[in-house]
């Protein structure tokens, strides 16, 4: 019983970790406070779902989820040339809300608040990931590949370019760098991986609805990035474990379910506030949030 629960939590940790690592690229390395990251997650989930229900093999669904999200990420990058800082953060918030609103209202496509049930578990080359254990293995593989890919990107000269743009965008322009292109690529990569996370989520829970992708879902993710510390990939891993497990502990306190949900939100938010006030650089961060 408990080990089944543990497997479930670990799968969720994997999904959150992919989301947090990809958000690190935007926030930690590029200095863009993208609070609309969840929109990419949701677009990936719905893309994968609709393709899967039309009979597309899982790996293609996963890939498509990433690519469609990447296109959305590109769209969001368009205003970043002229808009920065907290102003940009506001725009990303609005963006997230609109994507959520479209999920809720385009019920011809998304079935609106009813959501889409019956999403098949992944099947790769004939092997079906029916059991949660096998899905966990799949998740760990995807997550590990994500970590390695992102690490490669941020340690590379391109990653240094992103950091330069974050530290002094104008200074980068004066050295002849195309800063808009850098920021655009950054958002495209971040949204690509968030899209993969969405696909994983959809094929695990086998049911999706807009409520998983509302604006407020960004709070746990941005908390992980900040608590772990900006630009610290290992910090992000640790923070994901900690910040997923702490609210989960509430389950065992015996609160009625109507209170459990909001209580967990409150705990997550309070943790975030405390860190923002007392340790805004997080535990392993190299960089301040500017």
């Amino acid at each position: 019983m408990i080990s089944a629960y543990l497997i479930h939590i670990l799968i969720l940790i994997c999904i959150y970790l992919i989301l947090a690592l990809s958000l690190q690229i935007s926030v930690g390395y590029s200095g863009m406070l993208n609070l609309g990251h969840i929109a990419f997650y949701g677009v990936g989930a719905y893309t994968s779902t609709l393709l899967a229900l039309a009979g597309t093999p899982f790996l293609l669904c996963l890939l498509a989820a990433g690519l469609v999200s990447a296109v959305v990420g590109f769209l969001l990058s368009l205003p970043t040339d002229k808009i920065k800082g907290d102003y940009l953060a506001l725009i990303t918030v609005g963006f997230s809300y609109i994507v959520y609103s479209l999920m809720l209202n385009l019920d011809g496509v998304t079935r609106g608040p009813l959501g889409i049930p019956g999403i098949p578990r992944p099947e790769i080359f004939g092997f079906k990931f029916d059991s949660n254990t096998s899905f966990l293995i799949l998740s760990v593989v995807v997550t590990t590949l994500t970590y390695l890919a992102i690490k490669r990107i941020v340690d590379s000269p391109f990653g240094k370019l992103l950091e330069a743009v974050r530290d002094d965008e104008f200074g980068a322009k004066i050295l002849g760098k195309n800063t808009f292109k850098a920021k655009s690529f950054s958002l495209i990569i971040a949204s690509l991986f968030a899209g993969f996370a969405g696909s994983l989520y959809a094929h695990y829970i086998t049911f999706i609805d807009p409520s998983s992708f509302s604006l407020m879902q960004i709070i746990p993710i941005i908390s992980i990035v900040i608590v772990g510390g900006l630009t610290s990939l290992p910090g992000t891993v640790v923070a994901t474990f900690v910040l997923v497990l702490i609210p989960e502990a509430l389950r065992f306190v015996g609160l009625p379910s109507s209170i459990l949900g909001p209580m967990r939100q409150i705990i997550s938010s309070v943790i975030l506030l405390v860190i923002l006030i007392y340790k805004p650089k997080g535990f392993w961060g190299r960089v301040e949030l500017e």
Binding site: L33, L35, L78, P79, K82, I83, K84, G85, D86, Y87, L88, A89, L90, I91, V93, G94, F95, Y97, I98, S101, L102, N105, L106, D107, S214, L215, M216, I218, I219, I222, I226, S258, I259, G261, P262, M263, Q265, I266, S268, S269, V270, L272, L273, L276, I277, P280, E288, L289, E290
Partner: protein, 296 residues
């Protein structure tokens, strides 16, 4: 048909204007995004519900209490949270994230105390609308438009002629100079929260009467509010009001042509396109936004 849509746009615009003006007031004075403003509105609506529908108090008394508590709530949020960030010279980005966290806490508290189901305020009977020429409008809607305009006028006069209003504009314009002249910036920040949240409370009552109350209403209102502020020019209250009416009109004309499920998306799309070409908003002055913008 045109006139009906126009009037619908005005009604929506009036509500957005109340939301946006409070938000803009706080932003222009304190120079950071108080995203939790939406939750102050939602909480005020719940206060009204609590006093009127649950405790059975007189409606007008309940209104006064709700608005008063909204102002107190706004003041407390600033003193308990934002002040901590100002003291530590935190960047605007940090304060913005914090304000989203505060919004979530308030929404969750509302959820816990009042439940997730939709509440309504049964003060005005759902009568048929008045027919004025080609348009149909309810007396409540007329009241919304008129009383919003009245409140905005009062706000305008307050900002222009009262001591505190002038001090707020001074701090908004240049905090350091204002302090040299003897204005206490901290006091003015508190005042901006009190006044802004008062307007929020007022808006909450009208919204609660015209629509319904549900725990996540704050988020949606806030999105509309800051969209309006950005379109009109976020550095001024007048910008917020202008943007709000434009937003209301655009939304309603938009769904004349497009399916109503696109309503929210239309407004945001306009915002998005707008920002690509004129990020400072219609009334705006500055060209580069968010850069090195410290609240202190």
């Amino acid at each position: 048909m045109f006139y009906q849509i126009f009037v619908n746009g005005l009604i929506a615009g009036a509500i957005y204007a109340l939301v946006a003006s409070g938000f803009s007031l706080i932003y222009s004075t304190c120079k950071f995004v108080h995203f939790a403003h939406g939750a102050v509105i939602a909480s005020a609506a719940y206060f009204l519900y609590f006093f009127f529908s649950m405790l059975g108090l007189n409606f007008w008394l309940a209104c006064v209490l709700a608005v008063f508590l909204a102002s107190v709530l706004g003041y407390l949020i600033d003193k308990l949270f934002y002040y901590q960030f100002r003291r530590r010279r935190a960047s605007n980005a940090i304060i913005l994230i914090a304000s989203v966290a505060v919004l979530l806490i308030l929404e969750s508290l509302n959820l816990i105390f009042f439940g997730a189901d939709i509440k309504s305020i049964n003060f005005i009977e759902i009568g048929s609308g008045l027919k004025i020429g080609p348009i149909i409008i309810t007396s409540l809607q007329v009241f919304i438009i008129v009383s919003s305009l009245v409140l905005l006028c009062v706000l305008f006069l307050f900002m222009k002629y009262s001591k505190i209003g002038k001090a707020m504009r001074a701090v908004a314009d240049n905090k350091n100079v204002a302090e040299i002249v003897g204005i206490s910036a901290e006091k003015i920040y508190s005042w901006s929260f009190v006044v802004g949240s008062f307007i929020a409370g007022y808006a909450a009552i009208l919204i609660a009467l015209e629509q319904n109350i549900e725990p996540t209403m704050g988020t949606g209102l806030m999105i509309k509010g800051f969209t309006a502020s950005i379109v009109g020019g976020i550095e001024s209250v007048a910008g917020g009001v202008l943007g709000a009416f434009l937003l209301g009109l655009v939304e309603n004309f938009g769904i004349w042509y497009l399916p109503s499920s696109y309503k929210d998306a239309i407004a945001f799309f306009i915002l998005f396109v707008f920002l690509l070409f004129r990020p400072e908003g219609i009334l705006g002055l500055k060209k580069s936004f968010g850069n090195n913008n410290k609240s202190v």
